[in-house]
Amino acid sequence: MTQDIFGTKLMSEEEAVSKFIKNGDQLALGGFTVNRNPMLIIREIIKQGIRDLHVVCHSHGQGLDLLIGAGCVSYLEIAYGGMGRFAPTCIRFRKAVCEGLIKIDDYSNYQMSLRFLGGAMGLPFMVTKSGLETDLVKIDGFSKEDRGKGKIATKKLEITRNPFGKENDKVVLLPSLNPDVSIIHAQYVGEDGTVRIKGLTFADLEQANSASRVIVTCEEILSRSEIRKDPDQNSLPPFLIDAVVKAPMAAHPTACHYFYDYDPAHLRMYANMASDDGTFERYLKEWVYDIPDQAAYLEKVGLTQLARIKADPFLGYAPGLDRK
Protein backbone atom coordinates (compact mmCIF):
# COMPACT_ATOMS: atom_id res chain seq x y z
CA MET A 1 0.00 0.00 0.00
CA THR A 2 1.44 3.33 -1.04
CA GLN A 3 1.89 5.99 1.62
CA ASP A 4 -0.90 8.41 2.35
CA ILE A 5 -0.85 12.18 1.99
CA PHE A 6 -0.43 12.97 5.68
CA GLY A 7 3.00 14.36 6.46
CA THR A 8 3.92 14.29 2.78
CA LYS A 9 1.58 15.94 0.30
CA LEU A 10 -1.05 17.49 2.54
CA MET A 11 0.07 21.03 3.29
CA SER A 12 -1.02 24.65 3.63
CA GLU A 13 -1.54 26.86 0.61
CA GLU A 14 1.48 28.86 1.74
CA GLU A 15 3.73 25.82 1.66
CA ALA A 16 2.26 24.52 -1.60
CA VAL A 17 2.88 27.79 -3.45
CA SER A 18 6.34 28.46 -1.99
CA LYS A 19 7.46 24.91 -2.71
CA PHE A 20 6.04 24.44 -6.18
CA ILE A 21 5.58 27.80 -7.92
CA LYS A 22 8.38 30.23 -8.69
CA ASN A 23 8.92 33.37 -10.72
CA GLY A 24 8.77 32.78 -14.45
CA ASP A 25 6.95 29.46 -14.28
CA GLN A 26 4.52 28.39 -16.94
CA LEU A 27 1.26 28.01 -15.05
CA ALA A 28 -1.90 26.23 -16.24
CA LEU A 29 -5.10 27.52 -14.64
CA GLY A 30 -7.82 25.02 -13.84
CA GLY A 31 -11.55 25.71 -13.96
CA PHE A 32 -13.52 27.73 -16.51
CA THR A 33 -14.75 31.36 -16.18
CA VAL A 34 -17.19 31.19 -13.23
CA ASN A 35 -16.48 27.61 -12.13
CA ARG A 36 -13.88 25.85 -9.98
CA ASN A 37 -11.19 28.50 -10.28
CA PRO A 38 -8.38 27.65 -7.85
CA MET A 39 -8.88 31.02 -6.13
CA LEU A 40 -7.09 30.24 -2.86
CA ILE A 41 -3.89 29.32 -4.67
CA ILE A 42 -4.22 32.35 -6.92
CA ARG A 43 -4.59 34.66 -3.92
CA GLU A 44 -1.57 32.98 -2.32
CA ILE A 45 0.51 33.47 -5.48
CA ILE A 46 -0.36 37.17 -5.32
CA LYS A 47 0.47 37.37 -1.61
CA GLN A 48 3.83 35.73 -2.13
CA GLY A 49 4.61 38.27 -4.85
CA ILE A 50 5.37 35.71 -7.52
CA ARG A 51 6.09 37.46 -10.81
CA ASP A 52 6.63 36.99 -14.49
CA LEU A 53 4.28 34.02 -14.79
CA HIS A 54 3.54 32.56 -18.20
CA VAL A 55 -0.13 31.63 -17.91
CA VAL A 56 -1.65 29.07 -20.29
CA CYS A 57 -5.39 28.48 -20.23
CA HIS A 58 -8.52 28.23 -22.35
CA SER A 59 -11.52 30.27 -21.13
CA HIS A 60 -10.77 31.96 -17.89
CA GLY A 61 -12.30 34.61 -15.74
CA GLN A 62 -12.03 35.47 -12.11
CA GLY A 63 -8.74 33.84 -11.20
CA LEU A 64 -6.99 35.01 -14.32
CA ASP A 65 -8.21 38.58 -13.96
CA LEU A 66 -7.01 38.80 -10.38
CA LEU A 67 -3.61 37.37 -11.27
CA ILE A 68 -3.17 39.81 -14.16
CA GLY A 69 -4.45 42.74 -12.13
CA ALA A 70 -1.98 42.00 -9.35
CA GLY A 71 0.87 42.13 -11.84
CA CYS A 72 1.92 38.49 -11.63
CA VAL A 73 1.62 37.69 -15.35
CA SER A 74 4.08 38.49 -18.15
CA TYR A 75 3.02 36.06 -20.88
CA LEU A 76 -0.45 34.77 -21.61
CA GLU A 77 -1.68 32.11 -24.05
CA ILE A 78 -5.44 32.11 -23.96
CA ALA A 79 -8.70 31.57 -25.83
CA TYR A 80 -11.13 33.68 -23.80
CA GLY A 81 -11.06 36.13 -20.93
CA GLY A 82 -14.57 36.79 -19.67
CA MET A 83 -17.03 36.33 -16.84
CA GLY A 84 -20.33 36.07 -18.69
CA ARG A 85 -22.76 38.79 -17.66
CA PHE A 86 -20.62 39.87 -14.71
CA ALA A 87 -17.87 41.07 -17.05
CA PRO A 88 -18.30 40.15 -20.73
CA THR A 89 -14.58 40.86 -21.11
CA CYS A 90 -12.41 40.46 -18.02
CA ILE A 91 -11.67 43.96 -16.81
CA ARG A 92 -8.04 43.90 -15.67
CA PHE A 93 -7.27 41.53 -18.55
CA ARG A 94 -8.67 44.04 -21.07
CA LYS A 95 -6.75 46.87 -19.50
CA ALA A 96 -3.47 44.92 -19.42
CA VAL A 97 -3.82 43.89 -23.07
CA CYS A 98 -4.75 47.37 -24.30
CA GLU A 99 -1.93 48.98 -22.33
CA GLY A 100 0.62 46.38 -23.40
CA LEU A 101 1.28 45.32 -19.81
CA ILE A 102 1.32 41.65 -20.78
CA LYS A 103 2.33 39.77 -23.91
CA ILE A 104 -0.60 37.80 -25.25
CA ASP A 105 -1.07 35.11 -27.88
CA ASP A 106 -4.58 34.03 -28.86
CA TYR A 107 -5.72 30.48 -29.63
CA SER A 108 -9.21 28.94 -29.55
CA ASN A 109 -10.64 26.77 -26.77
CA TYR A 110 -10.28 23.56 -28.73
CA GLN A 111 -6.78 24.51 -29.81
CA MET A 112 -5.69 25.16 -26.23
CA SER A 113 -7.40 22.00 -24.97
CA LEU A 114 -5.70 19.96 -27.70
CA ARG A 115 -2.34 21.44 -26.72
CA PHE A 116 -2.87 20.31 -23.12
CA LEU A 117 -4.08 16.91 -24.33
CA GLY A 118 -1.01 16.55 -26.53
CA GLY A 119 1.21 17.31 -23.56
CA ALA A 120 -0.73 14.89 -21.39
CA MET A 121 -0.36 12.16 -24.01
CA GLY A 122 3.36 12.78 -24.47
CA LEU A 123 2.78 13.75 -28.11
CA PRO A 124 4.82 16.61 -29.60
CA PHE A 125 1.86 18.21 -31.36
CA MET A 126 -1.82 17.85 -32.17
CA VAL A 127 -3.70 18.46 -35.37
CA THR A 128 -6.93 20.35 -36.04
CA LYS A 129 -8.82 22.07 -38.81
CA SER A 130 -9.98 24.80 -36.46
CA GLY A 131 -8.79 28.26 -37.36
CA LEU A 132 -7.53 27.77 -40.93
CA GLU A 133 -7.20 31.15 -42.70
CA THR A 134 -8.07 33.19 -39.60
CA ASP A 135 -5.85 35.62 -37.72
CA LEU A 136 -5.60 33.02 -34.95
CA VAL A 137 -3.21 31.17 -37.23
CA LYS A 138 -1.85 34.17 -39.13
CA ILE A 139 -0.93 36.59 -36.33
CA ASP A 140 1.72 35.57 -33.83
CA GLY A 141 1.20 37.35 -30.54
CA PHE A 142 4.75 36.77 -29.37
CA SER A 143 7.86 38.26 -30.91
CA LYS A 144 10.51 36.28 -32.78
CA GLU A 145 12.88 36.99 -29.90
CA ASP A 146 10.47 35.43 -27.42
CA ARG A 147 9.90 32.30 -29.51
CA GLY A 148 11.79 29.31 -28.07
CA LYS A 149 12.49 31.12 -24.78
CA GLY A 150 11.55 29.13 -21.65
CA LYS A 151 8.36 27.23 -22.32
CA ILE A 152 7.32 29.39 -25.30
CA ALA A 153 6.96 27.14 -28.35
CA THR A 154 9.45 27.67 -31.18
CA LYS A 155 6.48 28.40 -33.45
CA LYS A 156 2.89 29.30 -32.70
CA LEU A 157 1.72 26.56 -35.07
CA GLU A 158 2.35 25.06 -38.47
CA ILE A 159 0.01 24.72 -41.44
CA THR A 160 0.51 21.56 -43.43
CA ARG A 161 -1.30 19.15 -45.71
CA ASN A 162 -3.04 16.03 -44.41
CA PRO A 163 -0.86 13.29 -45.92
CA PHE A 164 -3.85 10.92 -45.94
CA GLY A 165 -6.21 13.35 -47.66
CA LYS A 166 -6.67 15.26 -50.90
CA GLU A 167 -4.85 18.30 -52.25
CA ASN A 168 -6.76 21.02 -50.35
CA ASP A 169 -6.92 19.05 -47.13
CA LYS A 170 -4.98 21.51 -45.00
CA VAL A 171 -4.56 21.18 -41.25
CA VAL A 172 -3.13 23.16 -38.35
CA LEU A 173 -0.45 21.52 -36.19
CA LEU A 174 -0.38 22.85 -32.63
CA PRO A 175 2.62 22.46 -30.31
CA SER A 176 1.78 20.51 -27.15
CA LEU A 177 1.94 22.15 -23.73
CA ASN A 178 3.77 20.80 -20.70
CA PRO A 179 3.37 23.53 -18.09
CA ASP A 180 5.63 23.76 -15.05
CA VAL A 181 2.66 23.84 -12.72
CA SER A 182 -1.03 23.03 -12.92
CA ILE A 183 -3.37 24.31 -10.20
CA ILE A 184 -6.84 22.84 -9.85
CA HIS A 185 -9.67 22.74 -7.36
CA ALA A 186 -11.48 19.42 -6.77
CA GLN A 187 -14.38 18.35 -4.64
CA TYR A 188 -12.56 15.36 -3.17
CA VAL A 189 -9.07 14.02 -2.58
CA GLY A 190 -8.53 10.61 -1.00
CA GLU A 191 -6.15 9.97 1.87
CA ASP A 192 -4.11 8.10 -0.72
CA GLY A 193 -3.90 11.20 -2.93
CA THR A 194 -6.43 10.12 -5.56
CA VAL A 195 -8.37 13.14 -6.92
CA ARG A 196 -12.09 13.12 -7.73
CA ILE A 197 -13.71 15.99 -9.61
CA LYS A 198 -17.51 16.07 -9.83
CA GLY A 199 -19.40 17.84 -12.60
CA LEU A 200 -17.64 19.05 -15.71
CA THR A 201 -13.89 18.56 -15.77
CA PHE A 202 -13.21 21.32 -18.37
CA ALA A 203 -9.55 20.73 -19.37
CA ASP A 204 -8.37 20.22 -15.78
CA LEU A 205 -7.37 16.60 -16.30
CA GLU A 206 -5.42 17.33 -19.47
CA GLN A 207 -3.69 20.21 -17.68
CA ALA A 208 -2.76 18.14 -14.63
CA ASN A 209 -1.62 15.21 -16.74
CA SER A 210 0.60 17.47 -18.84
CA ALA A 211 2.24 19.49 -16.05
CA SER A 212 5.49 18.84 -14.20
CA ARG A 213 3.93 19.72 -10.86
CA VAL A 214 0.31 19.68 -9.69
CA ILE A 215 -1.30 21.51 -6.76
CA VAL A 216 -4.84 20.50 -5.83
CA THR A 217 -7.11 22.29 -3.39
CA CYS A 218 -10.17 20.37 -2.26
CA GLU A 219 -13.40 20.61 -0.35
CA GLU A 220 -13.07 17.29 1.45
CA ILE A 221 -10.62 14.51 2.17
CA LEU A 222 -12.09 11.01 1.81
CA SER A 223 -10.74 7.85 3.37
CA ARG A 224 -8.71 5.54 1.16
CA SER A 225 -11.41 2.87 1.18
CA GLU A 226 -14.13 5.38 0.37
CA ILE A 227 -12.41 6.89 -2.67
CA ARG A 228 -11.35 3.46 -3.96
CA LYS A 229 -14.80 1.97 -3.63
CA ASP A 230 -15.68 3.24 -7.11
CA PRO A 231 -12.46 3.88 -9.06
CA ASP A 232 -14.51 4.65 -12.19
CA GLN A 233 -15.37 8.02 -10.68
CA ASN A 234 -11.82 9.13 -9.98
CA SER A 235 -9.99 11.72 -12.01
CA LEU A 236 -6.27 11.71 -11.24
CA PRO A 237 -3.91 9.18 -9.62
CA PRO A 238 -1.83 10.07 -6.54
CA PHE A 239 1.55 9.93 -8.23
CA LEU A 240 0.77 12.99 -10.37
CA ILE A 241 -0.14 15.14 -7.37
CA ASP A 242 2.53 17.14 -5.51
CA ALA A 243 0.48 19.12 -3.03
CA VAL A 244 -2.99 18.73 -1.57
CA VAL A 245 -4.50 21.69 0.28
CA LYS A 246 -7.68 21.03 2.17
CA ALA A 247 -9.62 24.29 1.98
CA PRO A 248 -13.41 24.37 1.86
CA MET A 249 -14.79 26.91 -0.60
CA ALA A 250 -11.35 27.53 -2.07
CA ALA A 251 -13.01 28.26 -5.43
CA HIS A 252 -15.17 31.11 -4.09
CA PRO A 253 -16.45 33.39 -5.66
CA THR A 254 -16.63 30.83 -8.48
CA ALA A 255 -18.79 27.72 -8.23
CA CYS A 256 -17.98 24.18 -7.09
CA HIS A 257 -20.60 21.64 -8.21
CA TYR A 258 -22.54 20.01 -5.37
CA PHE A 259 -20.89 22.35 -2.84
CA TYR A 260 -21.67 25.96 -3.76
CA ASP A 261 -22.82 28.17 -6.58
CA TYR A 262 -20.93 31.15 -7.93
CA ASP A 263 -21.41 34.25 -5.79
CA PRO A 264 -23.23 36.86 -7.91
CA ALA A 265 -22.92 39.54 -5.23
CA HIS A 266 -19.18 39.13 -4.93
CA LEU A 267 -18.69 38.94 -8.69
CA ARG A 268 -20.67 42.17 -9.18
CA MET A 269 -18.67 43.85 -6.43
CA TYR A 270 -15.46 42.66 -8.05
CA ALA A 271 -16.51 43.92 -11.47
CA ASN A 272 -17.27 47.32 -9.99
CA MET A 273 -14.05 47.56 -8.05
CA ALA A 274 -11.90 46.19 -10.90
CA SER A 275 -12.99 48.93 -13.26
CA ASP A 276 -10.95 51.57 -11.45
CA ASP A 277 -7.28 51.31 -10.49
CA GLY A 278 -7.86 52.71 -7.03
CA THR A 279 -10.77 50.53 -6.08
CA PHE A 280 -9.02 47.52 -7.59
CA GLU A 281 -6.08 48.12 -5.26
CA ARG A 282 -8.55 48.29 -2.43
CA TYR A 283 -10.05 44.95 -3.49
CA LEU A 284 -6.59 43.39 -3.50
CA LYS A 285 -5.87 44.80 -0.05
CA GLU A 286 -9.18 43.83 1.51
CA TRP A 287 -9.68 40.44 -0.15
CA VAL A 288 -6.13 39.22 -0.71
CA TYR A 289 -3.30 40.90 1.18
CA ASP A 290 -5.10 41.50 4.47
CA ILE A 291 -6.60 38.02 4.62
CA PRO A 292 -4.40 35.65 6.65
CA ASP A 293 -6.07 32.40 5.66
CA GLN A 294 -9.14 30.72 4.18
CA ALA A 295 -11.03 30.82 7.47
CA ALA A 296 -10.62 34.59 7.63
CA TYR A 297 -11.65 34.85 3.97
CA LEU A 298 -14.87 32.95 4.61
CA GLU A 299 -15.52 35.08 7.72
CA LYS A 300 -15.28 38.11 5.49
CA VAL A 301 -17.67 36.67 2.91
CA GLY A 302 -20.03 36.04 5.77
CA LEU A 303 -22.35 33.26 6.77
CA THR A 304 -25.43 34.84 5.22
CA GLN A 305 -23.88 34.99 1.78
CA LEU A 306 -22.35 31.52 2.11
CA ALA A 307 -25.80 30.17 2.98
CA ARG A 308 -27.29 31.85 -0.10
CA ILE A 309 -24.90 30.13 -2.48
CA LYS A 310 -24.90 26.73 -0.76
CA ALA A 311 -25.66 24.08 -3.39
CA ASP A 312 -28.63 21.80 -3.33
CA PRO A 313 -27.10 18.33 -2.85
CA PHE A 314 -29.09 16.87 -5.76
CA LEU A 315 -29.08 19.74 -8.26
CA GLY A 316 -25.51 20.76 -7.51
CA TYR A 317 -26.28 24.50 -7.57
CA ALA A 318 -28.30 26.95 -5.45
CA PRO A 319 -31.80 26.97 -6.93
CA GLY A 320 -33.54 30.31 -6.97
CA LEU A 321 -30.33 32.20 -6.21
CA ASP A 322 -30.65 35.88 -7.14
CA ARG A 323 -28.35 36.04 -10.16
CA LYS A 324 -29.59 39.24 -11.80
Partner: protein
Protein backbone atom coordinates in the same frame (compact mmCIF):
# COMPACT_ATOMS: atom_id res chain seq x y z
CA UNK B 1 -51.79 40.35 -30.25
CA UNK B 2 -49.35 40.26 -27.39
CA UNK B 3 -46.56 42.82 -27.48
CA UNK B 4 -43.04 41.42 -27.65
CA UNK B 5 -39.53 42.75 -27.36
CA UNK B 6 -36.82 42.70 -30.02
CA UNK B 7 -34.92 40.19 -27.88
CA UNK B 8 -37.93 37.89 -27.89
CA UNK B 9 -38.31 38.28 -31.64
CA UNK B 10 -34.63 37.45 -32.17
CA UNK B 11 -34.67 34.41 -29.90
CA UNK B 12 -37.79 33.03 -31.54
CA UNK B 13 -36.60 33.75 -35.08
CA UNK B 14 -33.31 32.00 -34.39
CA UNK B 15 -35.06 29.08 -32.71
CA UNK B 16 -37.07 28.51 -35.87
CA UNK B 17 -33.83 27.75 -37.71
CA UNK B 18 -33.24 24.65 -35.54
CA UNK B 19 -34.60 21.41 -36.99
CA UNK B 20 -35.59 18.36 -35.00
CA UNK B 21 -32.62 16.13 -34.20
CA UNK B 22 -30.06 18.94 -34.42
CA UNK B 23 -27.26 18.81 -31.91
CA UNK B 24 -26.99 22.42 -30.83
CA UNK B 25 -23.77 23.96 -29.55
CA UNK B 26 -25.13 26.78 -27.43
CA UNK B 27 -23.53 29.70 -25.73
CA UNK B 28 -25.34 31.68 -23.08
CA UNK B 29 -27.67 34.63 -23.35
CA UNK B 30 -29.93 34.77 -26.35
CA UNK B 31 -28.61 31.53 -27.83
CA UNK B 32 -29.85 29.67 -24.74
CA UNK B 33 -33.27 31.19 -25.26
CA UNK B 34 -33.31 30.27 -28.94
CA UNK B 35 -32.15 26.70 -28.44
CA UNK B 36 -34.48 26.05 -25.55
CA UNK B 37 -37.55 27.55 -27.12
CA UNK B 38 -36.94 25.44 -30.25
CA UNK B 39 -36.56 22.29 -28.20
CA UNK B 40 -39.78 22.96 -26.31
CA UNK B 41 -41.83 23.74 -29.41
CA UNK B 42 -40.89 22.16 -32.72
CA UNK B 43 -37.60 20.31 -32.18
CA UNK B 44 -38.14 18.06 -29.15
CA UNK B 45 -35.36 15.72 -30.24
CA UNK B 46 -32.81 18.45 -30.66
CA UNK B 47 -30.15 18.36 -28.00
CA UNK B 48 -28.28 21.26 -26.44
CA UNK B 49 -24.67 20.87 -25.41
CA UNK B 50 -22.02 23.23 -24.14
CA UNK B 51 -18.35 23.60 -24.98
CA UNK B 52 -17.53 23.02 -21.33
CA UNK B 53 -18.71 19.41 -21.63
CA UNK B 54 -22.34 19.46 -20.44
CA UNK B 55 -24.51 17.36 -22.77
CA UNK B 56 -28.29 17.72 -22.79
CA UNK B 57 -28.81 19.14 -19.27
CA UNK B 58 -32.34 19.59 -17.95
CA UNK B 59 -31.99 23.42 -17.86
CA UNK B 60 -34.56 23.91 -15.13
CA UNK B 61 -32.84 27.23 -14.54
CA UNK B 62 -31.12 29.23 -17.26
CA UNK B 63 -27.33 29.08 -17.10
CA UNK B 64 -25.65 32.50 -17.24
CA UNK B 65 -22.33 31.12 -18.46
CA UNK B 66 -21.29 27.95 -20.25
CA UNK B 67 -19.51 26.91 -17.06
CA UNK B 68 -22.55 27.59 -14.90
CA UNK B 69 -23.31 24.56 -12.71
CA UNK B 70 -26.78 24.66 -14.31
CA UNK B 71 -25.29 23.07 -17.45
CA UNK B 72 -24.30 20.02 -15.34
CA UNK B 73 -27.63 19.20 -13.68
CA UNK B 74 -29.84 16.42 -15.03
CA UNK B 75 -27.55 16.04 -18.03
CA UNK B 76 -27.09 12.95 -20.13
CA UNK B 77 -23.36 13.31 -19.61
CA UNK B 78 -20.86 15.58 -17.95
CA UNK B 79 -17.50 15.58 -19.66
CA UNK B 80 -14.94 18.22 -20.64
CA UNK B 81 -13.81 20.46 -23.47
CA UNK B 82 -12.09 17.76 -25.50
CA UNK B 83 -15.22 15.58 -25.47
CA UNK B 84 -17.44 18.52 -26.33
CA UNK B 85 -15.41 19.73 -29.29
CA UNK B 86 -15.12 16.13 -30.46
CA UNK B 87 -18.92 15.96 -30.57
CA UNK B 88 -19.02 19.30 -32.33
CA UNK B 89 -16.76 17.80 -35.01
CA UNK B 90 -18.65 14.51 -35.30
CA UNK B 91 -19.27 13.85 -38.98
CA UNK B 92 -22.34 11.74 -38.26
CA UNK B 93 -24.20 14.54 -36.46
CA UNK B 94 -25.79 17.74 -37.70
CA UNK B 95 -24.19 20.12 -35.22
CA UNK B 96 -25.43 23.69 -35.25
CA UNK B 97 -23.69 26.42 -33.28
CA UNK B 98 -24.92 29.80 -32.06
CA UNK B 99 -22.30 32.51 -32.01
CA UNK B 100 -22.06 36.21 -31.27
CA UNK B 101 -19.32 38.63 -32.31
CA UNK B 102 -18.19 42.23 -32.17
CA UNK B 103 -17.77 42.52 -35.94
CA UNK B 104 -18.99 40.64 -39.00
CA UNK B 105 -18.13 41.06 -42.67
CA UNK B 106 -20.19 40.38 -45.80
CA UNK B 107 -19.11 36.73 -45.85
CA UNK B 108 -20.02 36.04 -42.25
CA UNK B 109 -16.45 36.07 -40.99
CA UNK B 110 -16.35 37.18 -37.35
CA UNK B 111 -14.21 39.21 -34.96
CA UNK B 112 -14.55 38.65 -31.24
CA UNK B 113 -10.97 39.48 -30.32
CA UNK B 114 -10.07 43.17 -30.56
CA UNK B 115 -10.36 46.53 -32.30
CA UNK B 116 -7.33 48.23 -33.78
CA UNK B 117 -3.98 46.56 -34.18
CA UNK B 118 -3.75 43.18 -32.43
CA UNK B 119 -0.47 44.09 -30.77
CA UNK B 120 -1.75 47.43 -29.48
CA UNK B 121 -5.53 47.25 -29.56
CA UNK B 122 -7.87 50.14 -28.87
CA UNK B 123 -10.32 47.70 -27.36
CA UNK B 124 -10.11 44.10 -26.36
CA UNK B 125 -12.95 41.54 -26.32
CA UNK B 126 -12.89 38.15 -24.62
CA UNK B 127 -11.43 36.34 -27.64
CA UNK B 128 -12.41 33.27 -29.60
CA UNK B 129 -13.33 30.93 -26.80
CA UNK B 130 -14.97 28.13 -28.77
CA UNK B 131 -16.25 30.45 -31.52
CA UNK B 132 -13.47 29.80 -34.02
CA UNK B 133 -13.84 26.06 -33.34
CA UNK B 134 -17.59 26.09 -33.85
CA UNK B 135 -17.28 28.21 -37.00
CA UNK B 136 -14.59 25.86 -38.32
CA UNK B 137 -16.01 22.48 -37.35
CA UNK B 138 -19.80 22.51 -36.87
CA UNK B 139 -22.24 21.57 -39.66
CA UNK B 140 -23.37 25.17 -39.64
CA UNK B 141 -23.67 28.21 -37.42
CA UNK B 142 -26.08 31.02 -36.67
CA UNK B 143 -24.85 34.44 -35.60
CA UNK B 144 -26.52 36.95 -33.30
CA UNK B 145 -25.60 40.61 -33.85
CA UNK B 146 -26.73 44.08 -32.95
CA UNK B 147 -27.36 45.67 -36.35
CA UNK B 148 -24.98 48.63 -36.44
CA UNK B 149 -22.62 49.99 -39.10
CA UNK B 150 -19.62 49.69 -36.78
CA UNK B 151 -20.39 45.97 -36.39
CA UNK B 152 -21.27 45.11 -40.01
CA UNK B 153 -17.95 46.13 -41.48
CA UNK B 154 -16.15 45.98 -44.76
CA UNK B 155 -13.01 44.62 -43.15
CA UNK B 156 -12.63 42.99 -39.75
CA UNK B 157 -10.06 44.47 -37.38
CA UNK B 158 -9.16 40.90 -36.40
CA UNK B 159 -10.38 37.71 -38.06
CA UNK B 160 -11.35 35.32 -35.25
CA UNK B 161 -13.86 32.85 -36.71
CA UNK B 162 -14.19 31.63 -40.29
CA UNK B 163 -17.39 32.28 -42.24
CA UNK B 164 -17.45 31.93 -46.02
CA UNK B 165 -13.93 33.48 -46.14
CA UNK B 166 -13.79 35.37 -49.49
CA UNK B 167 -17.03 33.90 -50.78
CA UNK B 168 -17.69 31.42 -53.58
CA UNK B 169 -15.89 28.12 -52.83
CA UNK B 170 -13.06 29.68 -50.83
CA UNK B 171 -14.13 28.00 -47.60
CA UNK B 172 -13.91 24.53 -49.11
CA UNK B 173 -10.65 25.35 -50.87
CA UNK B 174 -9.11 26.49 -47.60
CA UNK B 175 -9.49 22.97 -46.20
CA UNK B 176 -12.76 23.07 -44.29
CA UNK B 177 -14.82 19.97 -44.99
CA UNK B 178 -18.21 21.34 -43.95
CA UNK B 179 -19.99 24.13 -42.16
CA UNK B 180 -20.23 27.85 -42.68
CA UNK B 181 -22.62 30.57 -41.50
CA UNK B 182 -26.31 29.87 -42.15
CA UNK B 183 -27.89 33.10 -40.95
CA UNK B 184 -27.31 36.30 -39.02
CA UNK B 185 -30.12 37.12 -36.65
CA UNK B 186 -30.09 40.80 -35.72
CA UNK B 187 -32.42 43.25 -34.03
CA UNK B 188 -33.66 44.26 -37.51
CA UNK B 189 -34.07 40.99 -39.35
CA UNK B 190 -32.49 37.85 -40.64
CA UNK B 191 -29.61 37.88 -43.08
CA UNK B 192 -28.58 34.80 -45.04
CA UNK B 193 -25.90 34.17 -47.64
CA UNK B 194 -26.22 33.91 -51.41
CA UNK B 195 -26.01 30.23 -52.37
CA UNK B 196 -23.13 30.66 -54.78
CA UNK B 197 -21.37 33.97 -54.05
CA UNK B 198 -21.89 33.55 -50.29
CA UNK B 199 -22.45 37.30 -49.93
CA UNK B 200 -24.81 38.41 -47.20
CA UNK B 201 -28.40 39.12 -48.32
CA UNK B 202 -31.38 40.37 -46.36
CA UNK B 203 -33.74 37.43 -46.10
CA UNK B 204 -36.38 38.65 -43.67
CA UNK B 205 -37.06 41.88 -41.83
CA UNK B 206 -39.08 42.24 -38.66
CA UNK B 207 -42.51 43.90 -38.58
CA UNK B 208 -41.95 47.65 -38.28
CA UNK B 209 -38.49 47.48 -39.83
CA UNK B 210 -37.95 48.50 -43.45
CA UNK B 211 -35.31 46.99 -45.72
CA UNK B 212 -33.77 50.47 -45.88
CA UNK B 213 -33.31 50.44 -42.09
CA UNK B 214 -31.16 47.37 -42.61
CA UNK B 215 -29.15 48.99 -45.40
CA UNK B 216 -28.63 52.10 -43.30
CA UNK B 217 -27.20 50.07 -40.46
CA UNK B 218 -24.93 47.86 -42.54
CA UNK B 219 -21.38 48.93 -43.38
CA UNK B 220 -21.38 47.25 -46.79
CA UNK B 221 -23.83 46.80 -49.66
CA UNK B 222 -26.44 44.20 -49.02
CA UNK B 223 -28.98 42.75 -51.45
CA UNK B 224 -32.48 43.82 -50.26
CA UNK B 225 -34.42 42.46 -53.21
CA UNK B 226 -35.53 39.14 -51.79
CA UNK B 227 -36.67 40.12 -48.31
CA UNK B 228 -40.06 39.48 -46.79
CA UNK B 229 -41.54 40.27 -43.42
CA UNK B 230 -40.89 37.80 -40.60
CA UNK B 231 -43.87 36.05 -39.06
CA UNK B 232 -44.15 37.68 -35.64
CA UNK B 233 -43.88 35.47 -32.53
CA UNK B 234 -46.94 33.27 -32.01
CA UNK B 235 -48.75 33.14 -28.70
CA UNK B 236 -47.31 29.67 -28.10
CA UNK B 237 -43.77 30.82 -28.82
CA UNK B 238 -44.04 33.79 -26.50
CA UNK B 239 -45.72 31.83 -23.74
CA UNK B 240 -43.12 29.05 -23.92
CA UNK B 241 -40.26 31.53 -23.92
CA UNK B 242 -41.62 33.49 -20.98
CA UNK B 243 -43.14 30.78 -18.82
CA UNK B 244 -40.88 27.82 -19.45
CA UNK B 245 -37.55 29.03 -20.78
CA UNK B 246 -36.85 32.08 -18.65
CA UNK B 247 -39.46 32.24 -15.88
CA UNK B 248 -36.93 34.00 -13.64
CA UNK B 249 -36.63 36.67 -16.38
CA UNK B 250 -32.87 36.60 -16.08
CA UNK B 251 -32.42 37.41 -19.75
CA UNK B 252 -35.83 38.67 -20.83
CA UNK B 253 -35.53 41.33 -18.12
Amino acid sequence: MTAYSKLEMMAIAAGRLITDGDVVFAGTGISMLAATVAKRIHAPNSVVFFETGGIDPSLDELPLAVADPRVMAGASMNSGLIESFSLLSSQRLRTIAFLGAAQIDRYGNLNSTCLGDYHKPTNRFPGSGGACDAASLASGFIIFMEHEKRRFVDKLDYFTSPGWLHGNDSREKAGFNRGGPMAVVTNLGIMTFHPSTKEMVLSQHYPGVSPEDVANNTGFDVDLSKTSEVLPPTELELKTLRDQVDPQRLLLG
